[in-house]
């Protein structure tokens, strides 16, 4: 049961943790090593799922629009145009980040939670290492860096998926090409990138907070992992409303 007091306490603890995290690393070479590792673990390892999901969603959006929206009164380019806008503005940023909140968020929360209950974080603290900075900052920086690449891959994969529907004969390549080129606004692509970078911060920081503050045993690690996914998903949806309002 979420209480107002509990939410305020959580917010305060989150802000304090971020205060400890977002500081200059003790050793830049150690930070860079961790940063590259996290980019690989959180970003590179997510490319597969991003490509697969984006490909099929691109294809399905294209088919749905063709089958349900297009009519003799609609221009031909509607299918390509709508698919492009959905991929650029919402799917490749917001929906893809919701999916990544599940994959990356649970991974981070369970990793840090396990480190907490096995006293690995205490070991870092006793050595005089700022454990929050050492463990969390590379994750935040790593995912925020690689997120624009994931968004670009997602858009490209979705559009390829849409093109592939032409093999089924429902839409033609020409129809799609006209729509994809129709009044293309480059800013929409950047909107998607900006949104995804903000979501990357939400996913990594919230999941890190939930993992870092675990108390207890394996059951609590599991709960922390679930909470991380739920909370970061909800925050992404809230942020989506505000960012859409601000950016478009």
């Amino acid at each position: 049961m979420i209480t107002i007091k509990g939410a305020l306490v959580d917010t305060g603890r989150y802000v304090r943790l971020m205060g400890r995290t977002l500081t200059k690393p003790d050793r830049w070479n150690m930070f860079m090593k961790q940063y590259v590792t996290e980019m690989f673990q959180l970003g590179y390892n997510s490319i597969g799922i991003v490509l697969i999901i984006s490909f099929f969603i691109g294809a399905v959006i294209c088919l749905q629009i063709k089958l349900n929206i297009q009519s003799p009164w609609m221009p031909e380019m509607v299918v390509g145009y709508t698919t492009r806008e959905i991929m650029l503005l919402e799917f490749s940023s917001s929906i893809m980040c919701l999916i990544l909140a599940g994959k990356v968020g649970s991974n981070i929360a369970s990793e840090l939670g396990t480190m907490r209950i096995t006293q690995q974080i205490d070991a870092l603290e006793i050595m005089g290492v700022n454990s929050a900075n050492y463990l969390i900052l590379p994750k935040i920086a790593g995912l925020m860096t690689i997120m624009p690449i994931l968004v670009t891959f997602s858009v490209a994969s979705g559009i390829i998926g849409a093109f592939c529907t032409s093999f089924m004969g429902t839409v033609t390549v020409d129809e799609l090409l006209v729509g994809f080129h129709y009044e293309f606004n480059q800013w929409f692509f950047w909107c998607g990138i900006i949104k995804a970078v903000v979501y990357a911060f939400i996913i990594t920081s919230v999941a890190s907070y939930k993992g870092y503050t675990v108390e207890g045993g394996s059951v609590e690690v599991g709960k922390g992992s679930t909470d991380a996914v739920v909370l970061s998903s909800v925050l992404i949806l809230f942020a989506d409303i505000f960012l859409t309002q601000i950016l478009t």
Binding site: D26, T118, Q120, E125, M127, G128, N130
Partner: protein
């Protein structure tokens, strides 16, 4: 030397440590003993700074750890080494990287010297040839020895061991105890060991404090403990019938 003066700690209004006073001497293995739930882990966590006491002083060679600024505490922590109950090795790093970790973070040595130092520490705990293994590939006793190697990598002035023999067989426990004792004497370290293992008490307890319900009930050495007259200490020591029989046999001779 570490000196504790009038230390109090409570959780949710319940006092766990009540006016603890103790002195842990340099170059000696100092033991904190007591039953589970007596407050010895809380005391150790206060000493190393994982918990903050409500009142009292923790003096590291005269420097009050409680009143220090955060930055000073971090600097002092670099003079500490700690061996945790479950070793707390970093799973994602190899044995060599685990031992090199404090060196990588805080020493100004070049890479070759850091590797040399880490290998020297591993040799000291009798673990040569395990450099490229991961912690999960090692036995419990070997993990503890790697934890000791990591703890001494930066040549600490203070060494803390939280139940170092927990989960180990008696023979391996003796090996770990002897290792801790040798390192303490050779490097002239102030070592504090938190334990309820009577073999450790009798083997390496050069200076012992006995805690019961958050109060220091007795202090002395392993030579004095068998003949101590404190009732609570007797109950703790002679909980095992074997030790009681040994004492009775001694008194009849």
């Amino acid at each position: 030397m570490i000196k504790i003066e009038h230390l109090f700690k409570s959780f949710d209004g319940k006092e766990i440590l009540k006016d603890i006073n103790a002195t842990f001497e340099n170059g000696k293995v100092n033991l904190i003993i007591g039953q589970s739930g007596s407050g010895k882990t809380v005391l150790m966590k206060n000493i190393v700074g994982l918990l903050t006491p409500e009142r009292g002083q923790i003096l590291y060679d005269g420097r009050d750890f409680v009143k220090m600024k955060k930055k000073e505490q971090i600097l002092l922590r670099r003079e500490m080494g700690m061996i945790f109950q479950n070793a707390a090795l970093f799973d994602s790093l190899t044995v060599l990287d685990n031992v090199m970790f404090p060196l990588n973070m805080f020493s100004s040595m070049c890479y070759e010297d850091r590797v040399k130092r880490a290998k020297h520490c591993l040799e000291r705990v009798n673990l040569p040839g395990t450099e490229n293994k991961y912690p999960k590939e090692l036995s419990g006793g070997m993990q503890k020895r790697v934890a000791i190697a990591r703890a001494i990598a930066l040549e600490p002035k203070y060494l803390f061991c939280d139940e170092p023999n927990s989960g180990l067989d008696p023979k391996t426990s003796i090996v770990i105890d002897e290792l801790i004792q040798d390192i303490t004497h050779e490097d002239n370290i102030t070592t504090i060991v938190n334990t309820h293992d009577m073999n450790s008490v009798m083997g390496i307890g050069e200076s012992i404090i006995f805690i019961c319900k958050g109060i220091v009930e007795w202090h002395g050495s392993n030579k004095e403990i068998i003949n101590a007259t404190n009732k609570k200490l007797e109950d703790f020591i002679f909980a095992s019938d074997i030790l009681r029989q040994v004492k009775e046999a001694q008194s009849t001779h």
